[in-house]
């Protein structure tokens, strides 16, 4: 694994983090917010694997990445279930309208 590949990996992490944070701040749709969260977690995954490559401990990085994948999937599932229930009960996925509802 050469240095330029590591640099490209780090640049990808930074790019994904920026896009994920922009999506979290700018999106109003609840499902889009979950998608932005997924992008952030993918950046974290790449971070683990890249750090494992830099330090030479690939298997340790892989085991942590597997843990992150499991947690990320559970978060996505629960987020989707929340979005479905919010849509059923409130009739909208717009977070601005949801925050204005009174009970």
């Amino acid at each position: 694994m050469d240095l330029s590949s590591i640099n490209i990996g780090i640049l990808t992490i930074i790019g994904l983090l920026g896009i994920g944070f922009y999506g979290l701040l700018a999106c109003r749709n609840l499902i889009k917010i979950v998608i932005a969260l997924q992008i952030l977690v993918k950046a974290a995954l790449l971070g683990f694997v890249t750090a494992a490559n830099i330090s030479g401990k690939v298997n340790l990085g892989q085991s942590m990445a597997i843990t992150v994948i499991v947690a990320d999937t559970v978060v996505a599932v629960v987020g989707m279930a929340l979005a479905i229930q919010v849509r059923r009960r409130m009739g909208t996925l717009d977070v601005k309208k949801l925050s204005n509802l009174r009970g």
């Binding site: 590949s5 990996g9 780090i10 999106c27 749709n29 830099i54 030479g56 892989q62 843990t67 994948i69």
Partner: protein, 206 residues
């Protein structure tokens, strides 16, 4: 060269998944990002993580998203974002500049000790992580069941309704049987009353 292509493909997919107006397109772009990332992981030597990311990230999570979008429905939100776009871009830019400043250049201190296999690391060194994953999966399933359950009041439960219907049927049958045996027989008999011609016998004692 391939790394550069992957870099641009991943970022393009991520940007398009945020920018797409339709949620289905966003989900498919996210699946593309997962697929490109799994290729990146293969190139970095993390083969097992690449396989898991491809099957879970590009497969399972995409199917879940499409199912949820199908159930919840597409909602076109044309209103402006809550935080102004200029402010959002400014904040993200500041964050990224600080990140680049702290990270680059990355220090390359390679470990000299031989590394154990993935199974040894996963089950022996990170056993607690595996236990936490199992607990997390159970908690996620319970949370999902709780979130998607529909609450009904007690008398609307199927078993209670069944009991109420049976009881009503039983009462109606009792009324029918008593009507059939004697009309009006369901009314209690009136006690006999002594009339004028009835006399009380005198009993004599020795």
């Amino acid at each position: 060269m391939i790394n550069l292509v992957l870099f641009f493909a991943i970022l393009t997919g991520a940007i398009q998944s945020i920018r797409s107006k339709r949620l289905i397109h966003s989900a498919i772009w996210l699946a593309g990002v997962s697929a490109m990332l799994s290729i990146f992981f293969f190139k970095m030597g993390a083969n097992q993580v690449a396989v898991i990311e491809l099957s879970v990230g590009a497969g399972l999570v995409t199917v879940l998203f499409i199912f949820a979008i199908g159930v919840a429905g597409e909602e076109a939100i044309t209103a402006r974002p809550i935080i102004p776009r200029v402010l959002t871009l400014g904040l993200v830019t500041i964050f990224l500049v600080l990140l680049v400043w702290f990270i680059f250049p990355p220090s390359t201190t390679v470990s000299l000790t031989p590394e154990p296999s993935l199974s040894t690391v996963l089950w022996e060194e990170r056993g607690l992580d595996v236990l936490a994953q199992i607990v997390l999966i159970f908690a996620g399933v319970l949370g999902l069941l709780g979130l998607l359950a529909e609450a009904k009041p007690p008398l609307d439960q199927p078993m209670a309704q069944e009991f109420i219907v049976k009881r009503q049927e039983g009462l109606a049958e009792l009324v029918r049987e008593s009507d059939q045996s004697a009309p009006g027989s369901h009314l209690p008999e009136e006690p006999e009353r002594l009339g004028e011609h009835d006399s009380v016998k005198e009993v004599s004692y020795p």
